[in-house]
Amino acid sequence: MPAIEVVLYSGAIGLSIIGLTGLLLLNNVFRMLLALVILESGVNLLLILSGFRLAGVAPVILPEQLSNLSAIVMNDPVPQALVLTAIVIGVGVQALGLAMILRIKAQYGTLNMLKIREQLEFDLAVQSGVATPVSAHSPVSLASGRERQLSNHKDEQ
């Protein structure tokens, strides 16, 4: 395997690992989204590489080449098409995610995934009447830190 391919492959795999690790370790939702972007890039790169030929040319058959078709090394177009679609969709999803993050930040006042999850669960419980809504005047220990968020929440309504 030529050195350049090794570098490319390691780069792609490295990007994927960075992305996955980021998703695992980070708590900030925005950073998580970024990690997702990196992961996607890594995988896309990997995909591209699978159809990549070192000395390859664009997969367009010119009339003069028809005679010795087998001599030409071409890059595989299918992975490229696939990646193109994947990138487009990925961007769409990331934009959607970003929009959601904005809304979440506005309402919950935090970007911490753990806190969001906690608040989400609490909200769901309150909606279904399983838990009692925490009043802004209840002791902090009972509200366990949700108090501030909830009062924010209420104010915005």
């Binding site: 395997m1 492959y9 998703l23 695992l24 998580m32 590489l49 699978s50 999850r117 669960e121």
Partner: protein, 645 residues
């Protein structure tokens, strides 16, 4: 159209009619007529009870490659007869005064639903009894379970509701065990038809049989309430509304026995069961099941001894009596099986009568709590008489019918050389005697409570079925041959040598039993006793019930003077410590385990980071793949190969 079609169709149509007409006042009379007609249809098949050919239904369903069919053989006919007779008596019982009071206390709808539950129970039981293959057996089984649940759920009390839900969870567990077993049977034998399964069983090895038998036994055993699945039954039956309890207590749990006899005795065959040794014990599987039966007679009976409510006491006895039936059937000779099967009939009669008497007492006094009863014999003598007849049956004392079936079981155990089982059965009987005396003493004997001074005899509409049952209990006790005919036919149907019998009992070279003689001698003895008592000596003076003394003081009726609390204090001093609620704790532990697992799972769903899960599953998959055949290098090579292409 065979007679079986008529019967099933008639009952189904009657169910629809009763569901539609449930709010009308005439529904109670109507249902009595329905059960009479159904019984007549059943009697048209009475050839079955004397060794006739099985009756097939002309209705079959093809589904998923299975043919569902229905048929009646002697065993089904015997159980169906008990079911319908008990249903008839129950319907009679609830048609009169009891029903009126129930309507008034609850609502027309509630009474109508009780009738609906009764007919649905009867219908589902008939469907179960008529099943002609394992799949239709399972369908009938589930129908019975849910019909019973409906009956139990009619009582809106909290205790009753809890009992009902507990029942249905147990029942579901049982049903699932049966479903597992049926699926395995299908794969092992290639069919679910009784005959083909029976042939297929011959090819199976012992471990397969062992798995099947355990699963079937668990499934059917849960319905019977055998140890260790006995916890649900007593509360559920006791809390069923009055007349419903009569029916449920008498027959419902016996469906488990029917299915058990059908599958384990008839289809699998006890010789196969007996061939399975249980490791680390001296028991084979048949013996183990017999021991389950024996423990079921002992433990619930002694739990019954501690009850302070008549309904609960009876319901716990119901559980215990099921143990005798299982024990009898598991002895597997003609006498023991006859005893086990006959006990179903006998038990149904006296249990129904007992529940009726208790319901009558509740009807008049409003309670079945022993601490609030006593001395009712002067007010309700006929009810008392029925109860005495029934408890003599329950305790298995001659000349009532319960004695005959128990005698058969004892005799079989003797012949079989099973001392410990024999002793266990006797311990159960002795416990029964103790607790039935407590029942009759605390309800009818002793001091009459002041508030019950105006209590009158139970109304005629309730007395008639009670007395009818008492007559049956006595008559089949004196002439057990009547029932033994049917039992023998059922034995032939399940492939066991029929018991040699005559009208009075059975003839054996080594000591038989002739109930006509026994009864005759006993009544002769009583006559002699009566002569000694009544014709000799001075005339006795009847005094009022309240005319008592204590330590030289005459008492007024206001002083509570009735020994009902902690009745067997001496015995409880000794064995009280043995009640450790082990099974309740076991059940609780199981629930705790589920709860713990549930929290664990919930924590998983709650704390999961999406990416972590994805990573986890990928890692899991990779690990699984690599560990599958140690081909990690292959994977790496494959990856490299793939990439370098």
């Amino acid at each position: 159209m065979s007679v079986l079609d008529d019967l099933l169709l008639f009952t189904a149509l009657a169910s629809v009619a009763i569901i539609v007409l449930r709010r009308f006042a005439f529904i109670s009379k109507f249902s009595v007529v329905v059960y009479v007609l159904a019984t007549v249809l059943l009697i048209k098949m009475s050839a079955l009870g004397y060794g006739g050919e099985a009756v097939y239904s002309s209705f079959t369903v093809n589904v998923l490659g299975q043919v569902l069919q229905w048929r009646f053989d002697a065993l089904s006919w015997f159980f169906a007869l008990i079911t319908l007779v008990v249903a008839l008596f129950t319907a009679l019982f609830m048609s009169g005064a009891w029903g009126d009071k129930y309507r008034k206390e609850h609502s027309k709808e509630a009474y109508g639903l009780l009738q609906v539950a009764l007919i649905l129970n009867v219908l589902s039981m008939l469907v179960l009894l008529a099943s002609g293959d394992l799949l239709s057996l399972f369908i009938g089984w589930e129908l019975v379970s849910w019909a019973s649940f409906m009956m139990m759920a009619l009582n809106p009390d909290k205790v009753a509701r809890k009992a009902a839900i507990k029942y249905i969870v147990y029942a579901m567990a049982g049903a699932m065990a049966i479903l597992m077993a049926i699926a395995m049977t299908y794969n092992m034998t290639g069919s679910l038809d009784y005959v083909q399964v029976m042939q297929g069983m011959a090819q199976l090895n012992n471990s397969q049989i062992a798995v099947l038998v355990s699963l079937y036994a668990i499934g059917f055993g849960i319905k019977m309430g055998v140890i260790p699945f006995h916890l649900w039954q007593a509360t559920a039956y006791a809390e069923t509304p009055g007349a419903g309890a009569v029916f449920m207590g008498a027959i419902s749990a016996r469906m488990g026995l029917y299915a058990l006899i059908l599958v384990i005795v008839q289809i699998i065959g006890l010789t196969r069961v007996a061939a399975i040794e249980i490791p680390y014990t001296f028991l084979d599987m048949q013996n183990a099941l017999a021991w389950v039966g024996a423990l079921t007679t002992i433990i619930p009976t002694y739990i019954a001894l501690k009850q302070n409510d008549a309904r609960y006491l009876l319901a716990w006895h119901g559980v215990g009596q099921g143990g005798y039936m299982l024990l009898g059937v598991m002895i597997a000779d003609s006498i023991g099986t006859a005893g086990g099967i006959m006990h179903v009939f006998n038990y149904a009669t006296y249990q129904a009568a007992l529940f009726m008497t208790v319901t009558a007492v509740i009807y008049r006094t409003g309670t079945s709590n022993f601490s609030k009863l006593g001395g009712l014999v002067t007010q309700m003598p006929l009810t008392f008489m029925v109860m005495v007849v029934s408890i003599i049956g329950l305790a298995g004392i001659p000349p009532m019918n319960g004695f005959v079936s128990k005698w058969l079981i004892y005799r079989a155990l003797l012949l079989d050389g099973q001392p410990l089982l024999f002793v266990a059965a006797v311990i159960g009987t002795l416990g029964t005697i103790l607790s039935v005396y407590k029942l009759v003493h605390n309800t009818f004997l002793g001091q009459l409570r002041l508030e019950h001074q105006d209590v009158r005899e139970a109304p005629l509409s309730m007395l008639i079925p009670m007395l009818g049952l008492a007559i049956i209990i006595f008559a089949t006790g004196v002439m057990p041959g009547v029932v033994l005919d049917w039992v023998a036919a059922a034995q032939i149907a399940i492939g066991i040598a029929p018991v040699e019998h005559n009208l009075g009992g059975i003839e054996l070279v080594q000591g038989g039993l002739n109930m006509i003689w026994v009864t005759g001698v006993m009544f002769y003895g009583f006559a002699v006793g009566a002569i000694i008592f009544y014709f000799l000596g001075g005339k006795s003076k009847h005094i009022h019930q309240y005319d008592n003394y204590a330590g030289g003081h005459f008492l007024t009726s206001k002083v509570r003077y009735h020994y009902s609390n902690h009745f067997y204090a001496g015995l409880m001093h000794l064995i009280g410590g043995w009640y450790r609620n082990i099974f309740i704790k076991l059940e609780y532990a199981l629930v705790s385990l589920v709860s713990f697992m549930s929290q664990l799972s919930e924590n998983f769903y709650r704390s999961s980071q999406p990416a972590m899960l994805v990573a986890a599953i990928v890692m899991l998959a990779l690990w699984y793949i690599m560990s599958a055949d140690g081909s990690a290098p292959v994977l790496v090579q494959g990856l490299q190969g793939g990439m370098s292409k």
